[in-house]
């Protein structure tokens, strides 16, 4: 049997590669970056919602399963530049640095993931202009290193606001979908900060809170046990407060029905999920249809969420839409099984 190609080594890709190897088939795992673990690794995610376990505890074992596995051929800092369809599978060209290498594979799992929305595009929030306006993926790194300090002056903040739905549910930036995890991750960050620094006041500006399913528990706890405050209303703009040391969040408190201009020491933007550049390239390379949002479209999203509908091409993780890590890991397993069945027959 020719090996099965897994494209992308985030949670979904790692899970797929590990399961294919477990089934006894050879695997080629290709990752464009020099490290394994995808976005969680790239941005040094701290604790992961909903169980608040350290991301290394979840990704570590997944990485360990593929690293040093004799059935998994690992290609870091590598991209697929060409894919020719064969009667069964593909002939692919791998590019590592300047070196090209051609291999035949019997099936493909596309686990090319997402990119965080570039918050600079939501220019009203001043991200990139004001150092104390952070993207929440950056705050993840700060929490991970336990250094929650204002980038402008290195002082600890007294009051932090989270703005949800930045680059999500927003026609102005062309992203009408919900990112699914922005609420949970923001709330989780507020909880982590309140746990370690109870003197920091945490406010979340929201339209609705979408901590779906069992994640609701996190939302409840954040209010009851950690005193995180929720203010309904979407912030319209962020400016510098008088004196220039604080940020002014201008919005409407839609429950109070009054405009608000509240000073904060730090403002955190919950940037949404967009189809990653890798996902767009993979769609072109393997001819997988994309939806209006730019994510890969499964053939039957209800019955066969991991099938692309094209022979030998399977999909997993956030390449098909915003997804949490547990769901991505599950889809990786599903795609591994489907790819294995296809390759074996």
């Amino acid at each position: 049997m020719n090996p099965i190609l897994v494209l992308g080594a985030g949670p979904a890709g790692l899970s797929a590669a590990a399961e294919i190897a477990e089934l006894g088939a050879p695997t080629i795992l290709v990752e464009r970056e020099a490290y394994l673990g995808g976005n969680p690794k790239r941005w040094h995610y701290s604790l992961l919602a909903p169980d608040l376990r350290p991301s290394d505890e979840i990704l570590g074992p997944l990485i360990a399963k593929v690293e040093g596995n004799p059935r998994v051929q690992l290609h870091r800092s590598t991209t697929v530049t060409k894919a020719e369809r064969l009667p069964k599978g593909f002939r692919i060209t791998l590019k590592t640095g300047d070196a090209l290498e051609t291999q035949e594979v019997s099936a493909v799992v596309l686990a090319t993931g997402f990119d965080h929305f570039d918050s600079r595009r939501k220019f009203e929030y001043g991200y990139g202009r004001y150092p104390d306006v952070l993207d929440f993926k950056e705050l993840e790194g700060m929490i991970h290193d336990d250094r929650v300090l204002r980038p402008s002056d290195g002082k600890p903040p007294r009051r932090i606001a989270w703005i949800l739905c930045v680059g999500s549910r927003d026609l102005q930036v062309g992203n009408p979908w919900c990112c699914r995890m922005g609420c949970a991750v923001s709330i989780k960050q507020a909880v982590e900060i309140r746990q370690k620094h109870p003197d920091i006041d945490a406010y979340v500006y929201y339209m609705d809170i979408r901590t779906y399913g069992l994640w609701e528990d996190l939302y409840w706890k954040s209010m009851q046990e950690y005193g995180v405050k929720f203010i309904r209303g979407r912030i319209g703009q962020v400016t510098l407060a008088e004196g220039g040391s604080q940020l002014l969040a201008t919005g409407e408190d839609t429950i109070l029905r009054r405009p608000t201009e509240v000073p904060f020491d730090m403002i955190v933007l919950a940037s949404g999920m967009e189809p990653g550049t890798g996902t767009q390239e993979a769609a072109a390379l393997f001819g997988v249809p994309v939806g209006p949002e730019g994510f890969l479209t499964p053939n039957l999203s209800d019955m066969n969420p991991v099938d692309s509908g094209l022979p030998g091409v399977f999909l997993a993780g956030a390449a098909t839409g915003p997804k949490a890590i547990p769901d991505s890991v599950t889809e990786g397993m599903g795609a591994a099984l489907r790819a294995y069945q296809y390759a074996r027959n």
């Binding site: 408190d253 429950i255 109070l256 009054r258 509240v262």
Partner: protein, 243 residues
């Protein structure tokens, strides 16, 4: 703040003075205060959470189930009595807006329908009263004639342990700076006399052993006052202007 066209301003008063058909009420140069809310005061919710009856406040997520069933809000039609809203104002810390309801908030009749229905286990009735207490302790509402009467009544009662109606009436008249017409006074004096309540000054009724009991009562009132101040400052509260 700008001077605003009169027709755009809703003036909160019903009496108007008109002379020869011209409104001379004198609110032409009405100053509008800014509606922009510029701060959030965490001390309110911190204090409320620190009280045994108020700790469920932080569970509230503003669904409105409580207000929907509130007999004051719906059946009685007291639209400004909105428990959900009071909780939000306290939670987020809009002190000024909350203080507008310092009197209204005490109109809760404790039917507890809100507590029965709350999907998140907020003890709404207790929380509402705790918010009311916070407002009361930190300045309350502007003192009304009724408040002044209550004060005069308590002081009068504490003197001898039994009410001296005639003296209470004189004190209250003095406080309000007005007197009743002589005819009314005579009528009331006669009624008080007939019912045996005109015994005032040296003739006033006395309570046996009042000196001791009264001292205990005064001590208790002082102790209550100390407790509330201590709890306010312990929660980093405003402690502020006393009632």
């Amino acid at each position: 703040m700008p001077i605003v066209e009169k027709s755009l301003v809703t003036v909160d008063r019903s009496e108007r003075l008109e002379i020869e058909g011209i409104d001379v009420s004198g609110d032409w140069n009405t100053f509008l205060r800014s509606r922009v809310q510029t701060d959030l005061d965490v001390r309110i919710v911190d204090w409320i959470r620190s009280q045994p009856q108020g700790d469920t406040i932080s569970r509230c997520w503003q669904c409105g189930t409580c207000t929907a069933g509130c007999c004051l809000h719906t059946d009685y039609g007291l639209s400004e009595f909105n428990p959900r809203y009071f909780i939000y104002l306290a939670q987020v810390g809009y002190e000024e807006e909350l203080r507008k309801y310092a009197t209204t908030i005490w109109r809760c009749v404790s039917c507890n329908k809100c507590v029965e229905r709350c999907p998140k286990g907020v003890k709404v009735e207790e929380v509402i009263h705790t918010i009311g207490s916070y407002l009361e302790f930190t300045g309350g509402a502007p003192e009304s004639p009724a408040d002044r009467f209550d004060r005069a009544y308590t002081e009068n009662l504490l003197r001898r342990g039994v009410l001296d109606e005639a003296s209470l009436f004189r004190t209250y008249e003095r406080m309000e700076g007005r007197t009743m017409p002589a005819g009314e006074m005579l009528k009331m004096g006669f009624q008080l006399f007939r019912s045996g309540r005109l015994r005032t000054g040296p003739l006033a009724h006395r309570t046996r052993g009042w000196r001791r009991f009264g001292n205990v009562l005064r001590e208790k009132l002082k102790e209550d006052e100390r407790c509330r101040r201590a709890s306010l400052s312990a929660a980093g509260g405003t402690g502020g202007h006393s009632p």
